[in-house]
Amino acid sequence: MKFAVPLVLFAALAGLLAAGLRRDPHLVPSPLIDKPAPAFHLARLDEPSRAFSPQELLGKVWLLNTWASWCVSCRQEHPLLMALSKAEVVPIYGLNYKDNRADALEWLSQMGNPYVLNVQDINGRVGIDYGVYGVPETYLIDKAGVIRYKQIGPLTLESLEKTILPIVGNLNDELAK
């Protein structure tokens, strides 16, 4: 009985620390969830003379995928993006982050282009507005232009099936505000 109190306290502390060990410190929750997607006006990758702004997609549910040709994990998620674009469930727009235009175009011609279109964020300014801290990151944006989900790191089959596609389904049923 005399040892019960310290024992229980120790068990509680050990449990707390064990729970802390299981969490991935690299997953920083984004404060932008349920906030309007930051506006931008950037040159398109295919035709730099034309610009694109997310305003044009109001009324649509879409994915904004940040990527770069120098990014290793982007190579890993690329086949999934290709499959997703073929399935035509949700349009994918690309934010080509701090990349070189020639390298990016080369990448798309070699590996396939899953994007409706890409914009160039050459100095990473728009990336900062979106809280990007490591490509790839993918944002799910609803009909009202609000960020509803953020995938940090490469997309996986699991994250698509369990999280992103169900949310896309719900959002498509919503009426645009």
């Binding site: 920083v28 929750p29 404060p31 900062i128 801290y133």
Partner: protein, 202 residues
């Protein structure tokens, strides 16, 4: 030589404005780099940290205050970037938890010392208390005191046959006498007619 020095200074200060650079570095020391999470934005060599320092620099030139820049960063990257988290209900445990634990520890220490002092006090009796207890044992007609006499006899025989050692024997006797005194005293407290009657008879 002088021009080399000037060149080096300019190299380390791209803007050439050392006051501004000082302000940029001081403020960026308060932000956590998201790529190398145990480094500040001032110290990190990550690309993102350099970009963020540049952002901070430009915003300072544009006349923004440190508080505005802090909000700019936490709006985008969350409170996680702040090495000095804001005081809010979510961070109360962080800010005040250690003080609460210190207070709880001091309180526990106080309780422990108090109970130890109390036990130590119990272990000795003043000569007066001793005499009084002996008198009660010897002369009281109270049936409860008879129970105490039996207990004293038991301690005595335990000691004689070696079940308890001298030290235990003495401690038990003191404890018993103290309990006896406490019981007698608590009985004295309310002066009931019965009590007065007993006195006049004795």
């Amino acid at each position: 030589m002088r021009s080399l020095l000037l060149f080096l200074v300019l190299l380390s200060n791209p803007s050439g404005d050392s006051d501004l650079e000082h302000r940029v570095m001081t403020l960026s020391q308060q932000f956590r780099c998201l790529v190398c999470q145990n480094e500040t934005i001032a110290d990190s060599h990550a690309d993102l940290a350099a970009d963020l320092r540049q952002q901070i620099r430009e915003q300072m030139i544009a006349g923004r205050t440190d508080a505005e820049i802090t909000t700019f960063l936490s709006d985008r990257y969350g409170d996680f970037v702040l090495y000095r988290p804001r005081v809010s209900p979510r961070t109360y445990a962080l800010w005040f938890g250690p003080f609460a634990m210190l207070a709880a520890g001091l309180f526990a220490l106080y309780l422990f010392l108090k109970s130890r002092l109390w036990t130590l006090n119990r272990r000795t009796l003043s000569a007066d208390e001793n005499r009084k207890a002996d008198a009660i044992l010897q002369f009281s007609s109270n049936p409860n005191v008879a129970v105490y006499r039996d207990q004293f006899a038991e301690i005595e025989s335990d000691f004689r046959i070696g079940v308890i050692v001298q030290e235990e024997y003495e401690r038990d006797r003191v404890d018993l006498k103290r309990r006896l005194l406490e019981e007698e005293i608590s009985k004295q407290a309310p002066k009931t007619p019965e009590r007065l009657l007993n006195n006049s008879r004795g």
